[in-house]
């Protein structure tokens, strides 16, 4: 039986307090008026020196004129920032982006940790539905991590609801009134329906987590195989529910930040990030628990398999990233390519750095079969993968919401710290309540003797 050590609990609580202070500071320090925003911008530009102003009349505009885009939406899309002319409308837009920044910072961190818990839940459901023989010794670890799902998903839902127009331009009625495309999309992208969908996702995911955990614990004392059969059944239903809700969640919470832009494999792309981060965290938690001697029934073949999944899903993520990038780059259709122009021009180092961390690094480190069994090697690779996928979520949200006015400062770091603290606390509590060795799972013996 594992108990959250008082040092770790103290660390988690201090992180949360510091994080909360930082986030509050971030929200209080945003400029409230256009004048203040201009000052911030001027100070920023003086500090960095005059940057070459980007060509303002880009090719996007002409192609769009005919299609019923509102002028405001076009200004928004082609606004790459840094232009010297400080006209009122532009500065208003900049002000809006600056006020959005703390919202985005909190959302990125909140979603990053929520998706780890959600991805773990999906991985757990897959193991159950597939009746996997290797993994039952890790089920209590996975259940511990998914303990974060309830607070995590509720916080994420609250953030997207209250961020409102900061994130989702289609919630702005003035904008929609001028924009025929958004008017047509409003069948799907309207506030009540969007809100109901969000609530359904969160309830559905948490219901599965609740009943899965309940049946998994009931298995320990059960005479028959009733709880096992229930768990199998719920896992299958959940996976069917998840595959739909994950797609719509990706559209609702990420893709609709840029409502004129769409990509059909976007939902898969987010899922890839989710599952690779989740498997990485499972591996890291397993290694830490084994190091303090709580998981003596887990051998290095289990770690080897987790590392294989880390490797495989990293490649899968790259495949989807590149599949999306190459098609858009090659076709060069104006309304699609704006997505990457903004990211390559304004986020260049982290945009390409992310691919090195998320692809080249895992490939090089985890390719060798023997390295996958060395726990500190897996942990190092895992830390890099997690950093890379934090950047990935950062790049999904920030360019769409704050445009070129991004930075990684106190607010971003504090948000990360707060959710890290909450994550450690919830996962620690989830692991602590029960024995880490499940009993009576029909595949447990096979799992304990698993070797490669």
């Amino acid at each position: 039986m594992y108990t959250l050590s008082s040092k770790l609990r103290l660390f988690a609580i201090i992180s949360m307090v510091l994080g909360l202070v930082g986030v509050v500071y971030g929200f209080l320090s945003v400029p409230a008026t256009v004048e203040e925003a201009s000052e911030v911008l001027a100070a920023h530009e003086a500090h960095h020196g005059e940057e070459a102003s980007h060509e303002e009349a880009n090719f996007v505009d002409e192609a769009r004129q005919e299609h019923g885009y509102s002028e405001k939406a076009m200004a928004h899309d082609k606004d790459m920032g840094h232009e010297a002319h400080g006209q009122g409308e532009h500065m208003e837009h900049v002000l809006h982006q600056m006020q959005t920044k703390p919202w985005s910072a909190v959302f990125v961190a909140a979603f990053f940790f929520m998706m780890i818990a959600l991805g773990t839940l999906v991985f757990y459901a897959i193991q159950n539905a597939a009746q996997a023989g290797w993994s039952p010794v890790l089920f209590r670890v996975m259940e511990g991590i998914t303990n974060y799902l309830l607070p995590g998903s509720v916080i994420v839902l609250l953030i997207v609801i209250f961020a409102g127009e900061h994130f989702f331009p289609w919630q702005n009625h003035e904008l929609v009134a001028e924009d025929t495309i958004l008017q047509e999309k409003s069948v799907y992208l309207n506030f009540p329906f969007w809100l109901i969908r969000g609530i359904i996702y969160v309830i559905g995911w948490n219901l599965y987590r609740h009943f899965a955990r309940k049946n998994s614990l009931a298995m320990d004392d059960a005479e028959g195989d009733r709880p096992y059969k229930n768990l199998f059944k719920y896992s299958v239903y959940f996976l069917a529910f998840f595959i739909v809700t994950e797609s719509t969640m990706a559209w609702d919470w990420f893709m609709s930040m840029t409502p004129h832009w769409y990509s059909t494999l976007f939902a898969w792309y987010i899922f890839a990030s989710m599952i690779v981060s989740a498997v990485t965290v499972i591996a890291i938690v397993t290694v830490s628990l084994k190091t303090i001697g709580k998981l003596e029934f887990v051998n290095d073949s289990h770690l080897h398999d987790l590392a294989k999944f880390m490797f495989g899903f990293s490649v899968f993520w790259t495949y989807l990233w590149f599949g999306q990038f190459m098609l858009i780059w090659y076709a060069n259709i104006p309304e699609e390519v704006t997505y990457f122009i903004l990211r390559i021009q304004e986020y260049n180092p982290i945009f390409f750095g992310m691919i090195i961390i998320n692809f080249v690094f895992p490939i090089v480190i985890l390719m060798n079969s023997d390295f996958k069994r060395v726990s500190w090697f897996v942990v190092i690779a895992g830390v890099f993968i997690l950093v890379g996928h934090y950047i990935d979520i950062f790049l999904l949200v920030m360019p769409s919401t704050v445009g070129p006015h991004w930075s990684f400062g106190i607010t971003e770091f504090a948000a990360l710290l707060f959710f890290l603290g909450l994550f450690i606390l919830m996962v620690g509590l989830g692991l602590a309540k029960v024995s880490l060795r499940p009993k009576n799972n029909p595949f447990l013996v096979e799992s304990e003797h698993f070797h490669y």
Binding site: F322, M326, W329, Y330, A331, N332, S369
Partner: protein, 179 residues
């Protein structure tokens, strides 16, 4: 090589075979070769065979494939006959690289896979039209055969030991070629 007698010991179950191989090795008998109708998991470790190095070969072949793809596409699409496809830059490999990634990926896999199979054939000394080397045709169907070096051993003692491990049939082969 074996200077004389070799025993061909047949088994009809892979689990019994595994146990027999382990027992033989613990008694320090020399196993020349084992013939099985299908790959038996863990047999290589039980026989004490050295680790395969084919993974290293595969990695090198993959790098060769990647280089061939890069050089080939650079020559075809950039140097020899630059073509304007969809307005993409055709004068720099690096700038046009995303278009070539599928080819680079495919040729990496192609070279790694094919050269690895060919290496495996060469290393196992098999090629088309080669006469099969297996000593008993039943090893291609449902029997497992261990070739045990019987030189310098007491044949009666060895045979008894082998029957105790579950052998169904033992035959003594006088290996005159190597005598």
């Amino acid at each position: 090589m074996a200077s004389g007698n070799v025993l061909h010991v047949l088994y009809n179950d892979d689990d019994i075979l595994m146990k027999a191989v382990k027992a033989l090795r613990s008694k320090h008998y020399r196993i020349i070769e084992v013939y099985t109708p299908f790959p038996v998991h863990g047999l290589d470790k039980a026989m004490g065979l050295p680790y395969t190095r084919i993974a290293i070969c595969s990695f090198i072949y993959g790098l060769i494939g990647l280089s061939v793809a890069t050089l080939m596409m650079n020559f075809i699409m950039i140097e020899d006959w630059p073509r304007n496809i969809g307005g993409k830059p055709s004068f720099s490999y690096l700038q046009n690289m995303p278009a070539f990634v599928p080819i680079m990926f495919e040729l990496t896999v192609f070279f790694a896979a094919h050269l690895m199979v060919i290496t495996f054939y060469m290393r196992s000394k098999i090629w088309p039209f080669k006469k099969a080397e297996n000593p008993d045709v039943r090893t291609t169907d449902d029997h497992f055969l261990i070739e045990v070096d019987a030189a310098n051993h007491d044949l009666d003692e060895l045979s008894k030991f082998l029957y105790d491990t579950g052998a169904t049939e033992i035959s003594l082969i006088h290996n005159e070629e190597h005598a």
